[in-house]
Each structure stands twice: as structure tokens, then as C-alpha cells.
């Protein structure tokens, strides 16, 4: 069941907190974060000399810390912050710190259902991942590129498995890095490994690797493809047949390969951020059909509409039939849906969001320092000091607006459920 189905979707505006007043209670108030359901607003606050906490809807967490940073809500609404106490670091969830403490902790990740919260940690200059407070049994000399399985039960990272001294370049070139899944390193090393991805069934892991200084390929569960390329980007699992696809550089340009063999006919100046549609039947990516021209390609068919600066935040609709992205030309950010760019350009646009029925697209936008939501090219009447990404109701009939209204000490955080006709035609 969708997490949002239990939220309050009754139309109307609700004042949640007088955010503008918080500086009268605390010396220091950092930028706020809104919960996914809009019912809470939170910020890191200073409560005393070298004492920090988190204020939620006007009330600070009971236990202060020496430091709090990277405040983020999990998809299920729990509030997390990285905290330190007497020189030790851990994660606090809704004010309660994990029992396990570390010399350092950072890089919070959430599984899509919000059930798993994963962080990177360091103890005694050894590195490991921590899943819901439980650390890996094995730690490594270095670590990066954290990945979380779709169900949140498994974690993986690129790890250093062999030591080398400063400027010991030839030892490095023998391969000192591998991938650890749940703390167990693959039995094979590579010169480099980078972006990791889990299979939809949580069982397999694929990564982009460099097998020597010049040859790049994909390794799946430690086994590299026999084919190599001059360069490669992060792979994806095909959800329907388990094959692995990745953008690879070939003499004719970038193209999509599957299990090491060409999948697409098109050759691009650039190709990355590929994604399968939810039904697994379509494969899309951000592409540059020509040097300096950017768009999306769905199933190897680039949209005619291109952008000069860049394209980002591409996504498929829930029904797999539509796609959207942000395209930027001359610093103007446009939302582009199914190859058609909305006419209005903005100073900044956040990732477009499809409604559950796939009929509508909405996004947070910024213009001249003011923020609002736009749906299907139509903006709300009002602008705000700050808004968060829109959320559609499960029946696609309403949009949740989370906003800071007003300015200075009069700033109020509100939660509004808006029928779709609130967007101006």
C-alpha cells in the first residue's frame, strides 16, 4: 500500500508551525525540512553553548547533542539527523540515537519504503556500512558508492581490499578495489569500481569497473563481462529478464549495451542515467544526439526537442507510457514531458512528479527568488518563500502543497491539500 494513502487528503489549508518565531527561542535555526506528509517541519537549532538539537513543529528534541547535521525525513516520515556526542558519531531517529557509535558517520540513505536507514561509518580509520544501526561485520581501508537493495535489506559499497603506499602506482594498477555486499567482499579485485546497483529481486549486484588503466566494463556479482569498452557508465538490471544494461563508449559514439553486446542502434555524443519503465518494457536515458544538444531517448528514439545546457531528473510515469525531465537552455529551466517543453522557463526547477494515474505532472519551481508549484504547465496563483516537492493524492485528484508563507518573524509553515483546479489555466 502506498505510504501516502494514510495521510490527511481532505482539501484545505492547515497552519502547522510559526516557523518565523523559532529564532526567538533558539540562537541558531538552520534551513527547515518538511515531512513527506506535510504534518511536520523541522530544523537543526542551537539550544546552548556547543549544544544542538532539532526543533520539530516548535518543540526541540529532548536530548541535545554536540552537533547535528544532515537532517532528513525518511520516506515513512521518521526524522533522521547525524549527531555527535562526546566525540562519537551516530544517527538519531526521531531524537533517539542508535546504540552503536562510530568515530565518524555520514552519507544517510533510505530504502524506498523507508524501512531501512543506511549510513557510512568509520572506526579506527576502517570503513563500513550501517543498516538500521547494525554495522557490517567487516570494515575496509576505504569505501564509497553506497548502494541499497530495493527492499532495504541489503547494502553494498566499493571497498579497498589491498593496501598500497603513497605513489605506489603499479601496486594500485594491479587492482586494490572490489565490491562488498553486506560486508563480504567479492573475491576479485579491480583497478576501480564505481556506481553499484542491485537487481530488483535484491539478489544480484552490478557495477562499472576498470580492469586496467584503459579497459572498462561491467561486473555482475564479481564477474566482469568478457567485452571491454573505452569507457562505461553505471549499469541497470532489466526487470523482465535479468540482463544488465549500461551506456558504453564505442568507436562510433556512446550506445546502450546489454550483457556486453550492443542493444541500441543509436550512437550518441553522450548517454547516461538510463532507467527502465515500471513495467520493464521500456528503456529511457538522457542523451546528447549531437554534441551540445541534450534530450531524452525512449527505446533509442531521442525526442526532437533538445536543450543546450543539460538535461536532468528524468523519470517514467507509473503507467510506463510517459516520461518527463528537466531541460535547460541558457540557464532557463524547463519541464519537458513526452518531448514537449512547457513554455515557461524558470530560474530553477526540481524533479517533475507524475500523478499516480500518470495523467498529470507537477514540480516545484523558482523564479526571482520566489517558489511555487506548477502542474501541467499551469502555476499556482500564489508564490511562497519556500515550497517542497508536490505530492499527488493516491486518487490523483489533489496535490499536497508544503510551503513557508510570509517572511521574517511572520513566516508560517502550512500544509495545503489543493484540488487540481487550483492551478491556473
Amino acid at each position: 500500500m502506498d505510504i501516502s494513502s494514510s495521510w490527511d487528503w481532505n482539501a484545505g489549508r492547515k497552519e502547522i508551525a510559526q516557523f518565523g518565531n523559532w529564532p526567538t527561542s533558539f540562537d541558531w535555526v538552520e534551513e527547515p525540512y518538511a515531512s513527506p506528509d506535510g504534518e511536520k517541519i523541522a530544523a537543526v537549532v542551537k539550544t546552548g553553548e556547543m549544544e544542538f538539537s532539532v526543533c520539530v513543529n516548535g518543540t526541540a528534541w529532548e536530548n541535545p547533542f554536540d552537533k547535528v547535521w544532515f537532517l532528513r525525513f525518511a520516506p515513512d516520515g521518521r526524522l533522521t539527523g547525524i549527531v555527535s556526542d562526546t566525540g562519537q558519531w551516530t544517527l538519531a531517529v526521531d531524537g533517539e540515537a542508535w546504540e552503536e557509535k562510530f568515530d565518524y558517520l555520514w552519507d544517510t540513505h533510505f530504502s524506498p519504503n523507508g524501512k531501512s536507514i543506511i549510513c557510512a561509518a568509520q572506526n579506527g580509520m576502517r570503513y563500513l556500512l550501517v543498516n538500521n544501526g547494525t554495522p557490517w561485520q567487516t570494515a575496509f581501508a576505504n569505501m564509497g558508492h553506497t548502494a541499497v537493495s530495493p527492499d532495504g535489506s541489503r547494502t553494498a559499497a566499493v571497498v579497498q581490499t589491498e593496501g598500497f603506499k603513497e605513489a605506489e602506482i603499479f601496486k594500485f594498477q594491479e587492482g586494490c578495489f572490489s565490491v562488498a555486499v553486506d560486508g563480504q567482499a567479492w573475491g576479485r579485485n579491480f583497478v576501480n569500481a564505481w556506481g553499484l546497483t542491485f537487481s530488483p529481486d535484491n539478489q544480484r549486484v552490478a557495477t562499472e569497473v576498470r580492469v586496467n588503466l584503459y579497459d572498462y566494463t561491467i561486473a555482475v556479482d564479481g564477474q566482469p563481462w568478457p567485452t571491454t569498452f573505452p569507457s562505461i557508465w553505471k549499469p541497470s538490471f532489466n526487470p523482465t529478464n535479468g540482463s544488465v544494461v549500461a551506456p558504453a563508449k564505442t568507436p562510433g559514439g556512446w550506445t546502450m549495451v546489454s550483457d556486453g553486446q550492443p542493444l541500441w542502434n543509436g550512437r550518441y555524443a553522450q548517454l547516461w542515467h538510463q532507467m527502465y519503465s515500471p513495467d520493464g518494457n521500456h528503456l529511457a536515458a538522457i542523451v546528447a544526439p549531437k554534441y551540445g544538444h541534450w534530450t531524452m531517448a525512449v527505446d533509442d528514439k531521442p525526442w526532437a526537442r533538445t536543450f543546450d545546457d543539460f538535461v536532468t531528473d528524468a523519470s517514467f510515469s507509473p503507467d510506463s507510457k510517459r516520461a518527463a525531465c528537466i531541460g535547460v537552455t541558457n540557464k532557463r529551466h524547463h519541464i519537458c514531458v513526452d518531448g514537449q517543453a512547457w513554455s515557461e522557463g524558470y530560474d530553477m526547477v526540481w524533479a517533475p512528479v507524475f500523478s499516480p494515474d500518470s495523467q498529470h505532472v507537477a514540480a516545484k519551481v523558482e523564479k526571482d527568488g520566489q517558489f511555487t508549484l506548477v502542474m501541467d504547465g499551469k502555476p499556482l496563483k500564489n508564490t511562497y518563500t519556500k515550497v517542497w516537492d508536490p505530492v499527488f493524492s493516491p486518487d490523483s485528484q489533489n496535490v499536497l502543497l508544503r510551503a513557508l508563507e510570509g517572511s521574517g518573524s511572520d513566516t508560517i509553515y502550512t500544509r495545503s491539500v489543493l484540488p487540481l483546479n487550483k492551478f491556473l489555466g
Binding site: 540562537d27 541558531w28 538552520e30 534551513e31 552537533k67 547535521w69 544532515f70 565518524y104 555520514w106 552519507d107 557510512a120 568509520q122 570503513y127 576505504n142 569505501m143 564509497g144 579497498q160 603513497e166 605513489a167 605506489e168 602506482i169 603499479f170 594500485f172 594498477q173 578495489f177 583497478v191 576501480n192 564505481w194 576498470r210 588503466l213 584503459y214 572498462y216 573505452p230 569507457s231 568507436p251 555524443a269 553522450q270 547516461w272 546528447a288 554534441y291 551540445g292 541534450w294 543546450d308 545546457d309 543539460f310 536532468t312 535547460v328 540557464k331 530560474d347 530553477m348 526540481w350 523558482e366
Partner: protein, 446 residues
Amino acid sequence: MKDAAVENTQIHDEGIEKGAEKLTPEKIQQVYQKMMDAEAGARLKTYVESCVSCGLCSEACHFYLSYDKDPRYSPAGKVKQTMAVLMKKKGRVSVEFMKKASEIASTECNLCKRCAQYCPFGLDIAYVMLFVRRLCHKLGISPQYIQDTAQSHSVTYNQMWVKEDEWIDSLQWQEEEAQEEIEGLRIPVEKEGADIFYSVIGPEPKFRAQLIYQAAVIFNAAGLNWTMPATPGWDNSDMAMYTGDNEIMARIKRMHFETAMRLKVKRIVMGECGHAFRSIYDMGNRALGWRMPPVEVTHSIEFFYELIKSGKIKIAKKYEPTVTIHDPCNVIRGRGLHDMLRYVVHAICENVEEMHPNREHNFCCSAGGGVINCGPPWKMKRVNGNKVKAQQLFDAKSRGAETCVAPCHNCHGGLEDIIHHNEIGMDLKFLGDIIYEVMEKPESVL
């Protein structure tokens, strides 16, 4: 007296020597041909074959001038000793030849493009030297220390093997230090939607953390909405660009720009670094298919110009010792920021004594183009290869200059060595050092 050029041929570099042990003439010829087929075109052929040996480039090169006008160090001479021979012999050269080619391309040319400016045909010898470096990369004979730096980039996305936690810890440490001076001062980390992503190079958290502190004071005093990432992608530098490992160059630039996109910033303001600007503004972005930087990039010179001119930061009392100005090649010849640099220096300093030639005609620091990153084996060759700059500094000193302002990290490294070795006795400062010292600072930003 020993011939310095002869001494230079006896330098041992583990990266070149050990790498060459695996080479054969056949392998060289094969790799050369593959590269010529795949990556060389009319541009390379034109640059190499159009040279009429007029010698105008020679007088432009600090190596040539500093090594008693030895023609081996002239830009055209460097091409004739490397790419011209390779092309004439179609890659059929010896291992010893390639070792020397690696040395010439990586340690005797700063890719500063001063020679291209004086060439009547505009032949870009830096491009040719970079091509030779890429060939050396493909052959596995890049100098050891710069290769190590490129390998650091490949793992950590920064040039100094700074681990992810060390980076964040450095920011938090600098924030705490700065709060002792200015109450409530923040280094906002991972603040999505900030206007500015402030990006720095690897040595800042490692050796020059005070620069991050000073930048934080400047950003806060100017009341700007800024952030720094807590993830790889914070480092804008790029030594892979200078080893010819273009694939790693592209990879780290992608991370840098996608970090800016993820943070939803409107522009990247980068610290005082020249080569990083070249990578972000020209080579790295274009290797990925971006005609220009996808997210606007502002170099510190331009940024400080903007802050001072708009009155966002105010100068309390100008810096009193007389200063001279070193023009970093990548942002002056490469971007034309020389007038803005002078506006800033004159706004913050009482007295300025120019070095000559200057602006786009400046002489390189001899550290740029990755030469300083070739490490200790090549240090004295580099320092002796820039007696011209030493003389410029001496001249400026004789006219009263006590401090040299150099808004570039590699220039700092190079000039520091030149000043020390030649006992010039001059302070060296970044713009940020002086601005921090002379600006009006709030006691609290709460």
C-alpha cells in the same frame, strides 16, 4: 659548471622507468597507430606540419629562456623531439625515445599557451604536448607522482586521496574555528537550493584549510546563500586532464557538475585555482558533450570583483605592503580575467608594482600544466626552468614589492619554490588571504 640540461637527463622517475620495462617498439607502434586512427585529425597534423621553424615561440617559453636558450627547450624543439618524429616514423620509435618524450611533454612544458600566442600561425603546441602525454598514458609511462594523483581522482574524485569523512570533518573543523572569531558563522553543507556551490581543490582540506575558513567568512559577510557538498564531487581539480587520461577527466567532471545539479545551485564559484578552471570551463565539460559548463562557473577572481564592486564586502583598511601580481595562465590567457584581477588587487592593496610582461603576456609559474605534480624528482628542473620568473620577482622587489599575489594553487606551489630557491624574500598570498585580512568583518552573523 655542469650543464643543467645534461643534469636534467639523469633524473630517475619510477613511473617512466618501470612503465617502460613493459614496452617494446612493437607495442609503441601499435598504440601510436591506434591513437592516430581514433583520436588524431587535421588539427594535430596542421600543428605539427605547419611549423616553419621561425623561432618566435622560443622567446615565449620560460624553459627556453631559463636554460640559456637551449633549442631543445624551445616549444618548436619540443615538438620536433617528440610528435614530429613519431609522425615521421609512423610510431616506429624506441623505448628510450618514448621515455624522453614523456619527460619532455610532462616536465618541460606547462601547457601555458604563451607560445601559441606568439606563433604567427597560432599553432597550439600545448595541444600537441597533451597528445604526447595521452600517448604516454596509453603506454603506461606517465611520471609517477602525477600518475598517482590521477589514480587518486579515479578512486576518490579528488586529487589528494582525501576520504569522504575526512572532507566533511575538515569543513566542520573549519566552521568551528571560524565560529570562535565570528559567532554563528556557518559552512552550510548539503544545503539544497542554495544559490552557490563553492568548490575547491584537494589541497585545501589537506594543507590549506584556512582558505575554506576565509572563504566562509567572505561568503557570510556578503550575505550569500551558499553551500558545499558532503559527497565526492566537491573537488574541481583535475590531474587526469594533464596525464592524458581523458576518460577519468570526464568521469570526475561529470561528478562535479552532477553534484551542482543535485544541489540545485545556480552557479559554481570556484576557489583560486587555474588548472581546475581549464578543466571545468574547457576540457572536462567538452569531453562529456557539454559545449559550455552546464552549470555557470565563476572563478574567484571574477567573484571577488563582483563582491567588491557591488559593495557586498567592504574594505576596512587596505593591505599596506607593496604587492606585485602574478597572472595565472589558465584564467588570464585562458579566460581574460586580468583586468578584474587588477581591479580587485587595487581595491584591497595600497601599492601595486607590476611585473613585466604581464596580463595575457605573463610568464607561467612553471608549476602549471601538471609539472609540479610530477613531484620531487623534477622539482629542480622546474625551478631552474623558470629563472625568468625569478628575475621578474627580483625586479618587482627592487621596486618595492614585498608580497606577490597569485590567485592559483599551482602558481603558489611553483612561486614558493622559486622564491625560496632564489632567496628572493617575498611573501606569497592568495586574494582570499588579503581580502580576509582587510575586509570589514561582522562579530556575529546571528
